[in-house]
């Protein structure tokens, strides 16, 4: 089975690098974006299987990215895992309603994050196999 490709969207380069290390060590391919605008363009170009999305981003925050993704047929089915320093009380429900598959507040427990990534990928695969 080919490696799943994960798009990491975070404006903090150190954190992007850490996530890349972590995900690659778990046998995923990664691509990256540092703001809302490039998140969409990289996603359209790379067709990731899953997106790890920060909420506080320059050039269109995470909610804007979520909304755009939902409107693009090719990307609407891609699971999005939100990983943010923001407070769940004001953001979790909004993110899940906006189409996110899961919400994590930083700092995240890596094992938990990896579990959810694995399960979300497994869930979305049958849908991805359908002709669009």
């Amino acid at each position: 089975m080919p490696k799943s490709k994960i798009l990491i969207v975070d404006d903090d380069p150190d954190l992007r690098r850490a996530l890349r290390l972590r995900l690659r060590a778990n046998n995923y391919d990664t691509v990256h974006a540092q703001d809302g605008y490039s998140a969409i363009s990289v996603a359209q170009k790379e067709h990731p299987d899953l997106i790890v999305l920060d909420l506080g981003l320059p050039a269109g925050d995470g909610f804007v990215v979520l909304e755009r993704l939902q409107r693009l047929d090719a990307l609407a089915g891609v699971p999005v895992v939100v990983l943010t320093a923001r407070d769940p009380q004001n953001n979790e429900e909004r993110a899940l309603k906006g189409g996110a598959a899961a919400f994590f507040q930083k700092p995240v427990d890596n094992a938990e994050l990896l579990d959810v990534i694995r399960a979300s990928l497994a869930d979305s695969r049958p849908a991805a196999a359908l002709p669009s």
Partner: protein, 550 residues
Amino acid sequence: MSDQATRVLLIEDNPGDADLVRLRLVEGKSLVEVTCVDRLADGIASLGLHPPSLVLLDLNLPDSHGAETFRTVMAHSPDVPVVILSGQDDEALALKAVHQGVQDYLVKGDITSKQLERAMRYAVERQALLRSLEITRKQQLEFKNQFLSHVSHELRTPLTCIHQYVTILLDGLAGAMAPEQTDHLKTILKSVNQLHAMIRDLLEATRAESGKIRVEPRCISIGELVHQAVTMMRPIAGERQVGIEIGLDNRIPLVHADPDRILEVLINLTDNAIKFTSPEGAVMVKACMVAADEDAVYVSVTDTGRGISPDAKALIFERLYQDPELIDNNRTGLGLGLFICRELVKLHGGKIWVASEPGQGSTFTFTLPLYSLAKLLAPVIVHEGQIRDHIVLVKVELAPLSKTLHGNWREVWQQAIETLRRCVYLDKDLVLPPMGGSAAAQTFFVVASTDLEHSGIMMARIRGQLERNEELKACATLVISAVPLAFATPPAETSLDKQVQAVANRVTEIIMAGMEAAPASRANDHAISNSIRQVQSIQKESSKCQNQKS
């Protein structure tokens, strides 16, 4: 204020006194506009229509007397200064009024125009000063809370980075670590986690202070939460060689509470108890009913630690309180934990307190209001002064298909409740509030005033309606079943309330049997396993609607 007229509202029912005051006002040097009314009701109406600069108030009016008079005025217009016109005989009351926020008082008969003018001017100035102080105080509080919330958020970002790279090193993703290096990294990680917990507490306390904590009470089993909390805390207790035990009453009714928030309280109290207990000591988490108070469940956390001094007991729930004897060597928090606990318990309508003797350990207890099923049931199951002949409990189970929750799972099952509510007759049937946590499988119950045969129609209706929801169909399985509630005819003298309570108890038993995996500890175990068998045997309606992702 010197150029503009001072608008005075004079509330005085004695025409002689009113004229005299009016005369004194006109004699004064400053420009005054007087409105005079002789009843409090008229005064309040005038306050609403044309807010004056000041109220001159007689306390004994035809429609209000004494303290009531100034309290009414101040409650209606807190920003308008009030000066009381008192008689010789009620000067004591006027003085009391000043303590409660009235600006000044003048004794009728002794009033000179100079004195009146001066009293009014100072009253207006003082009131303005007070008001600006209050505004500043509110702004500062708001600023402080915003600042704290911003700072905690900003602290999280670098903390996350430290956390990520320490775990990368610890997990060997950047090469193997020597045992000593691993040890040091673990120490760093522990500190990072402590910092994280402090930031969380800081945010939570800030929110509590500005009234922004949201509590979503549901019908929950406190026993389940106690088990959950103790399971989470057991490793930490083990590390410190402190024993941890659970004590649950045989029958604890369901409580009305937010499971996430109460778990937070339990974890906080248990964590404290473990922290202040030396090795070989023990912590006990209990939930029970108390004979003297039938409206609440008492949840307590007892330790065999060093106890709390009487001085500390008075302050322990206050924000930022730290036991001075512990600050030097055991500092692991901000002193916000108990403050947060108190606020959370208060939001649930409960109370929290501590009993402790130095050297004898401590017991922290909080109460949670009972979930009163009887009150909900009464209007539905009582018909023409007696309990209906046939009552059926319909159970609707929704289980998510995959292990990861569908992003909208919460929304999906909340929609399901709405659908259920549309499937029942409001005067005869009752959809019980959701039970248990909000995470995975959801079970809903409907108490229906019908016999088992006719309940089939309701179940078919429920299934039909729920299956129309494509999203729900795509992500969950649906099982619907029914169990009749049969009762022995009660003795003739049994009150209706008691009969309703009996139905409520029976419903609770069945629900609890379904909710708890191991009902072994319960006293009337036999009855419950019977009802489980009943439920199982009547599951004629149970089929699955399978996953059809499109």
